[in-house]
Amino acid sequence: MISVHHLSKAYGTQLAVQDLSFSVKQGEILGFLGPNGAGKSTTMKMLTGFVPPSSGQAIVAGHDIAEEPLEVRKKVGYLPEHNPLYLDMYVLEFLDFSARIHQLGRQERKRRVAEVIEQTGLGSEQHKQIRQLSKGYRQRVGLSQALLHQPEVLILDEPTTGLDPNQIVDIRLLIREVGKNKTILFSSHILSEVEAISDRVLIIDKGVMLADAPVEELRKASAYANIITLEVMRPGLDLASLAELPDLLIDRHSSTRFSLRGNGEEDLRPRLFELCVAQNNPILELHQEALSLENIFRTLTQQRA
């Protein structure tokens, strides 16, 4: 549905996006993750045809963004960052306007506007001026205009920024709901959000892609996939024999308490057990936890810094 090949964007001498390649399959929800200024918005602006790429190619919903921008825009629903809206317009007026732009006929226009209002829960606010709406409801209006023409692809730039926790949950549910039969690319700098909504995650920083993997796989395959806490009874535990393991990190919290990070290929717990038995030092605590996406993200983005 979306395939991007070596896409780059330079503003003057500054590279906002560098050589980005990825694809999104039909029906997939892809979370686009990165710190602020990572190039997420620029990429989305390029995919919706608002900003032309400096080099590279992208096909969205079967059309090249450079060659058939109008065809792309017909099939894409886009919620820009900061959700710009015509504040002077009334909700119904604005949705009717958007539907007209998409050339929906009179009957269909009425039907679709009613449907998206139902879908996004705007019913009680539909007769108000957009200016009067709270941020959460404005976000729903933005989402409504993106959904109106039943696009095959939805591109949502930070759809939950600035909302309160309840609203965030609502919007997430809504995205998951509409995502059942659409291809969605959405961006966020909040990790738990990407974890909650998307099937796959793409991490970018400073315009460069750092990771592209299913959420679980990324968590598993990360170089420091899990963290082990070990506490023994007596000080003086000799861990030298573990030195042969690649990528092992040992943090010594106290003389009896350690945390170890392995490379995720091997479960270290049996080794540690045997090591302690051999040194006759009883284990008080031994547990392993998977690293959160948050840690993975931080590790990945800091390696480059």
Binding site: R73, P80, P84, L85, D88, M89, F97, H102
Partner: protein, 245 residues
């Protein structure tokens, strides 16, 4: 064409949602009304069956009022970020410009319509009734309409240049002023006497005066259309270039 009409509807709607349309209509009608009926040299005083005072003051009112209706056209869209919304819909830049331009011209037309009451009154007051140079009046109306249409295209151009609507207004009014007056003034400079007739022909005033005499010359019409085309093409160029950056 459908899309042009959609933008047109939205723009006309926003004129009348935000008071701009009413203020524009009101100010124009009150001012022209005062000049035609109340101030010195009004019709009742001069006892001449003509609307010269309307066609004299009209261009000056349009000069700074038309850029006021177009000032928001692009500057506000850019400032509020709604340009991104519009530009990512299945619309071409020409459709957006066309819709916005036609909306401004429509407002100019709507403003001129009520002044037909003046015309009717003068017609009825004439002695005998209908003793009025209809040809010249129609020509002058056409001239005023063309002038408004030219100013609207220039105002649109000014609006795409900047993000602040106030700046767009000042800039638009200034460029309109330059086109209306400056060539006439330049022609008066001693050093430029040699190209004097040519300079005068470049200005709007000359063509407005010419069409107001009631002679609808294709050269005048062509002049107005060229200025409009030039302004709209420049607008399109800037709008496209801006997104390329």
């Amino acid at each position: 064409m459908n899309s042009v009409f959609t933008i047109f509807r939205k723009e006309v709607g926003s004129f009348f949602n935000s008071l701009i349309g009413y203020v524009f209509l009101g100010v124009f009608l009150v001012s022209t009304g005062l000049f035609v009926w109340v101030f010195e040299y009004n019709i009742l005083e001069t006892r001449r069956a003509e609307l010269d005072s309307l066609f004299f003051i009209g261009p000056y009112l349009f000069l700074f009022m038309v850029p006021a209706i177009t000032m928001r056209a692009f500057s506000e869209e850019k400032k509020q970020g709604t340009m991104e919304l519009l530009a990512t819909k299945p619309l071409t830049h020409w459709q957006i410009i066309g819709g916005k331009y036609l909306a401004a011209v429509f407002l100019v037309l709507v403003t001129l319509l009520p002044t037909l009451v003046y015309l009717l009154t003068v017609w009825r007051l004439g002695q005998p009734v209908g003793n009025l140079d209809l040809g010249a009046t129609i020509g002058a109306y056409l001239g005023l309409f063309f002038l408004g249409a030219v100013f609207a295209s220039i105002g649109l151009f000014a609006s795409v240049l900047v993000e602040e609507q106030f700046v767009a207004w000042v800039l638009g009014a200034f460029i309109c002023f330059a086109f209306f007056f400056a060539f006439e003034l330049l022609a008066g400079l001693p050093g430029l006497r040699a190209i004097n007739p040519f300079l005068i022909k470049l200005g709007l005033m000359e063509h407005y005066a010419s069409i107001s005499r009631g002679v609808i010359d294709t050269r005048d019409a062509l002049y107005f259309l060229s200025v409009i085309t030039m302004a709209l093409f420049s607008t399109h160029y800037l709008l496209t270039r801006e997104q390329k950056r």
